[in-house]
Symmetry: C2
Subunit: 243 residues, 2 copies
């Protein structure tokens, strides 16, 4: 049997990948190096902008994403995660290509959400327009009986999108303040939990120590937890096999 190895398709952006890898370490109960989840990471940010592609204002990142999947599975990855919510718009195409399962970030988020709240409940989703258009959160929240709340087009243009590009430029405090206003809008409309469905958001909200953090579910951390669950299951399984 192949040794378990998590392949991380990252670089969207590079800081979100580092944030994910840090959370993967935090979520792993480990005393020594050797107990940490083994990963191979493809963080090649030279791919077309995902948000622009979904706005039909730019070329598709799919060929570059497929190259990443191929390199990770060639390197021996036995599971793949994509450390970017927006890129999950191409999940089906990537899954069809990948010889190994891709853990879906929204499945990971919903698993965490269900531990904290029981449906029905109003759940706000902070996400890019592309992620919202792809419907990945709407479908999975509705399936579990949750009532999803989303930013309006105006809020996306004025708050969310500039917040996102601020973080990518390294202006993390400025991004955090914009995201906080987008979060407040959903709380005002009745959300009791907020899903941070773009990997740039937690970095920025943590930086400004946002007052909303206690009700937030961080999609990067949820994905990290799913990797730890996979790794612990796979190593326990292989330990049983060899004992």
């Amino acid at each position: 049997m192949k040794k378990p190895l998590v392949g991380v398709l990252g670089g969207m952006g590079p800081l979100a990948t580092v944030d994910f890898l840090g959370k993967l370490i935090e979520e792993t109960p480990a005393e020594i190096d050797q107990e940490h989840v083994p990963v191979v990471v493809w963080s090649v940010p030279q791919l077309p902008d995902r948000q622009k592609a979904l706005d039909e204002a730019g070329e598709s990142p799919l060929p570059a994403l497929i190259e990443g999947i191929d390199r990770l599975t060639d390197a021996g990855a036995t599971r793949i995660v994509v450390a970017c919510n927006t890129a999950h718009a191409w999940y089906d195409a990537l899954s069809a290509r990948s010889p190994v399962p891709i853990l879906h970030i929204v499945d990971a988020v919903v698993a965490c959400l269900k531990i904290e709240v029981t449906a029905p409940a109003r759940v706000g989703v902070l996400a890019t327009r592309g992620t919202l258009a792809s419907g990945i959160y709407q479908t999975r929240l509705a399936r579990e009986g949750f009532d999803g709340l989303f930013n309006t087009d105006e809020e996306l243009d004025a708050l969310f999108k500039p917040g996102c590009y601020s973080v990518k430029r390294g202006e993390i405090d400025a991004g955090g303040r914009l995201f906080e206003r987008a979060a407040a809008a959903l709380i005002d409309r009745g959300a009791t939990r907020l899903i941070l469905a773009c990997t740039e958001i937690p970095i920025a909200l943590e930086r400004i120590r946002s007052r909303h953090l206690p009700v937030c579910i961080d999609s990067n951390r949820a994905l990290a937890k799913a990797c730890v669950d996979y790794w612990r299951g796979a190593t326990m399984h292989s330990a049983e096999k060899t004992s």
Copy 2:
């Protein structure tokens, strides 16, 4: 010509790899995702302990390190960096194996040192016993006319080694306090600069906001700078070729 891609041999430990990747982003002048250095990272911590192997108390990590080099170069890496000082004890064997150059962490550190101080000068090196035994710092500092100062065996046993394993266990504050005492010993003996020659140290000294940080040269950050220099040179070169 192959597209420039930095291969990072990491996982020694995983947190040091994340620290390196974060510093690579910080050291890159970039406004958008696409301007960041493309990396492929092999962070598989299931390899024998480097310090124990160099103490002749454990098996060699060399086969696992070679596997990492092979996977990174198969994935298309055009340069390799090893995000661990101690593992540079096997640099020559890895270089012989690698089809692409491996940027040496001590060369990167010495390049940064020479910008800050002119030889001769007393330079303290905080490093594992294995790194010290391998002589990688002694040789390169002497070659440039610097006078290297190192912790004694007693300081290594009482301060440095437990500091290192504290960080690996996630007890970062405790590790920082131990490293600070090892640093103070070198300053007391006349060091005007301190090289943090183990990737666990900067994480811990930054956490406790050590008073020695202003005279420290962080080997992880130096290696990140060397990657940025490579990447900028390579992309400028390829832009010239295609124009």
